[in-house]
Each structure stands twice: as C-alpha cells, then as structure tokens.
Symmetry: C2
Subunit: 220 residues, 2 copies
DNA sequence: AAAACATTGTTATCCATTTCACATAAAACT
DNA sequence: AGTTTTATGTGAAATGGATAACAATGTTTT
C-alpha cells in the first residue's frame, strides 16, 4: 500500500524537484507570485508543459494572475515529501563517493546520505562529513537497523551486480547507479542510471553530427 | 559544415555510447557474434529498439545469424569518432571536479579532460592526474590554444551562468553541466544537465508514489 | 540438398509527451 | 462599472519514441 496519490506522467515527476528548487529561489528572493512564462524562463521548460504539469495536481493557479509562490512551494513540499527526511546509503567511498559525501544534499533536499560502506580497511570505521563508513560485511545489518531503502552505488563496475543483489535482499527499493554496469534487478526495484561517460560521449556525438543550429547560410 | 551524416533520433544517439561500451566487453570476452536479444539482456534495452537503432545506419546484421561483433565494433568506433581524441576542459576543481579528474575517461572513451580551471590560488599551477590547473583569467586564451570546444562545469551554482557566457564567447559548443543552475546559452550551444539532486529526489518520489510493482496481493 | 531454425529489418501500431491555441476567468486599469 | 489586459487550464493536434509482429532471408542441421 503505497501512498495512494495520483499517477502523473513520469516525465512530469522528473521535473517536480526542479520546480521545487526554483520555487525556493523565488521565495528567498521575496517574490510573491510567478507566471508559467516566468518559471519557464528560469527552468528552461516550455510554459505550456509547466501548466500541464501543474494541472495534474488540480488548479493551483489563478487565471490572469499566475501562481502564488508560497502556496505552490508548500504544495510541492508536501508532494515531494520534503517534510520527512529520506535516509540514503552510499556504497563505495572512492573518488566519486567521497565527492557525494562531502556535498550536502540537505541544503536543497530533505535527502541525506546517512551511512556509507566500503571494503577499504583504511576507510572503515572513520567518519567523513559526519557519516560513518562501515565494512561491507555489516551492510545488511546496518541497512535494516536504519530502515534504509535507497542506495547510491559508486563502486568499481565489476562489483556492481553482486552488491545490487545483496541490496535487493536487504530490501533496498531504489538505486542511484553511477557505475557503467547495467543492473539486473527484481521488478520491485527501481534503478536510476547516471552514466557520466555516456553523457559526455553523447554530447560529443550531438555536437559532431547535429551541427548545433549552424547559423543558416544566407544564399547570395 | 558539420560531418554531414544522417539525423538519427536523439534517443538513439544517446544509446550509441552504451552499445559501444558493451560491444567492447563482448569483444574482449572473445565473442564473435551477438544477437539483438543477447545485447538487449546486457544493456537493458528492448531488442526491437536495438534493431531499430542499428537500422538507421543500414543493414548491419545478417538474418538468421545476428551481428558480427568485430564489424559492429569498428562501425561504431567510426560513428562515434573514437579514433580521434576529443579534448575537454574542466571548470571548477572542487569535490566533484577532482573526482572527474581522477577518473580516466580514456579507459572507455576517446575523451579526455586535457585542462582544468579554478580560482583557488592553492590549486592553480598544480597538476592533478597529469592535468594542469590554470587560473580562470587565462581560460579563454588556453581554450583557444588547445582548440577545445567542450567543457565540464563543476563550479558553485552562482558562478555557472557568467562562466557559461565566457565559455560561449570562447567558442565552446558543448557543456556538461553539473551545477543546479539552468543555463541560458546561444542557440549554437548544447548543454547536457547532470542534476544529481534532481535524480535522487525523483527516485525518492517514484518509490513513494509509484509503488514499484508491489507484489500483487493475493486475496484470500 | 532439403528441411528446420534463427534472427534480422521493417511495417504498422501503440503509447507518452509536448505543444498549440483558445475559451475562460480573474486582475488591473480607466 | 466597464474595458482591457493577463495568464490559466485544457481539448485537440503534433511529435517522438517504443514495441509487436512477421515476411524475408540467411544459417544450421540432417
Ligand atoms: N570518478 C568519476 O568521475 C567517475 C565517472 C564515471 C563513472 N564512474 C564510476 O563510478 C564508480 C566509482 O568510481 P570512482 O572513481 O569513485 O572509483 P574509486 O576506485 O575511486 O572508488 C571505488 C571505491 O569502492 C570501493 N570498493 C571496491 N570494491 C568494493 C566492494 N566490493 N564493495 C564495496 N566497496 C568497494 C573501493 O575501496 C573504493 O573506495 C565506478 O564504477 C566508475 O566507473 C566514476
Ligand atoms: N559534489 C557533489 O556531490 C555534487 C552533487 C550535486 C551537485 N553538485 C554541484 O556541482 C558543483 C560543484 O560541487 P562541488 O561539491 O565540487 O563544489 P566545491 O565547492 O567542492 O568545488 C567548487 C570549485 O569551484 C571553484 N570555483 C569557485 N568559484 C569559481 C569561479 N568563479 N571560477 C572557477 N572556479 C571556481 C572552487 O575553487 C572549487 O574548487 C556545484 O554547483 C554543486 O551544486 C555537486
């Protein structure tokens, strides 16, 4: 029995955190109202798309006026469960894992890396940015104790699948996967891939082959 | 005049580096042929989608047989310009920037961070993983000298836009943006956003609201 | 060499998402 | 109070992408 809310399109769901972030900016800047056109300029999403996205949640705005920033902000805070802290585990405290640990997700989201795991004895038992690093052997136990259901995976690719299998058994439901491995998971889990190498390579490809808006030649 | 190849769908273009990576794995493993079904299992993309993707480049396979790994690999190497090295600049050598510097993109791609920029005097002039860190004041000059047209942006968000404007003037055409800022760029540029916080938050949202395939209750 | 088999390439269909365009209604102005 | 302006919410159309399904065709087996 999941929080039975409505099933909005996935594309919309992915934009919600973005809207939330910019609404916070507007709020800090003291803005009281905002139009879909203004928001569009800020988040670089078509204004019609923004209105459509919002409309899945009912009529949040007023015709001829726009949206009340405070109202919208508190609405999204509830919708995005920003009131309760979501605890996340980090598996693999290497280059990337360390960067993520040092970054304070809390500043913007109510999401926090609460615990980390590694196999490097030099790191185990120590604390980074207030987060204790445990041995992988203790992973299942610690995850259960803390009731954690989301993990960030930043281990070398060859270990990704077997660790994923362990996470699945430990009742973890979501993985943010930074490794190049394509994980096999039970249907009850969800994986978001962040594939930096693919992202970089596809950017190169687009630039080479899509002649990014080459200024239209003016024939003479 | 961009390499006048064909205009394949963007979704396909984003999968090409993925295919390439797994083909290299297959090659290393000594496999000579592969079917779309096998590849599908490995990269977690529907086999019909894979065949469709490949078909944009002509008939690369053989009916009843599948695809020749070597042939496919060399085809994609050419298509993805893996023969020539693409030089990339890194702007902002902090937590995240350092992790990217230490990571050797070359292992898998012919893409390399060749130069880095920062404002921290402690870092400027030093070398990390063989990459020299220059002062931001020298950015335009160095970028031009090296003929770099792609940059990775890992600076604090408030500086992202003004640095982007400088990059645009310096003839950079692509930005891999890790900052939460939504950049305004000329139509001649392309930005890929990697928004870790959004990625994490939307994962949380999906798990909470989409009840990831809750095991169908068996009514008794 | 024939029969059985495997797998592509593609057509047709489906689905999700974006965008247009405008009726509607509230707000701002005169 | 009436008029004009503004900006929402949404039907309808357009776009973009994924998938089912299968004829075509080469491969493998006997
Ligand atoms: N660093 C980057 O910029 C970057 C970029 C793209 C992809 N990635 C991917 O992210 C992952 C991590 O990269 P990195 O640069 O941080 O690597 P890294 O080698 O610096 O860190 C890996 C960490 O995982 C730990 N580890 C190794 N085996 C383990 C195991 N079985 N269980 C638990 N922990 C284990 C190591 O002790 C180390 O601390 C890799 O899969 C890499 O391909 C990294
Ligand atoms: N570290 C993470 O895990 C993480 C996660 C999500 C998003 N981000 C985003 O990535 C960016 C970098 O994060 P970080 O953790 O590496 O921050 P950081 O503070 O560790 O690093 C920022 C670096 O940029 C340099 N810098 C500051 N102003 C500059 C300027 N004007 N020109 C050039 N360089 C400048 C600083 O000297 C520093 O080296 C931020 O925008 C952050 O929001 C980081």
């Amino acid at each position: 029995m999941s929080s039975e809310t409505l099933k909005i399109p996935q594309a919309t769901a992915k934009r919600l955190p973005l809207y939330y972030r910019f609404l916070k900016n507007l709020h800090s800047a003291g803005k009281l109202r905002v139009s879909s056109a203004e928001l569009s300029e800020a988040v670089k999403v078509d204004s019609a798309t923004i209105r459509r996205d919002f409309s899945y949640f009912g009529a949040l705005g007023k015709k001829g006026y726009g949206y009340n920033v405070d109202y919208l902000l508190s609405f999204f805070r509830k919708t995005l469960d920003q009131d309760e802290l979501t605890k996340v585990a980090l598996v693999g405290v290497g280059n990337l894992g360390t960067a993520l640990l040092n970054y304070n997700f809390l500043k913007n989201n109510n999401t926090k890396i609460s615990v980390a795991f590694d196999i490097d004895e030099a790191k185990i038992g120590s604390t980074m940015s207030g987060v204790t690093i445990y041995h992988m052997d203790d992973m299942e136990k610690v995850l259960e104790e803390l009731g954690i259901s989301i993990a960030i995976l930043t281990v070398p690719a060859p270990y990704a699948q077997s660790i994923t299998d362990r996470l699945a058994k430990a009742n973890v439901k979501g993985i943010l996967n930074f490794t190049p491995a394509r994980l096999t998971v039970p249907a009850t889990m969800r994986v978001h891939h962040i594939d930096l190498a693919v992202e970089l390579q596809s950017l190169v490809y687009f630039l080479k082959h899509y002649g990014v808006n080459e200024v239209e030649e003016i024939e003479e």
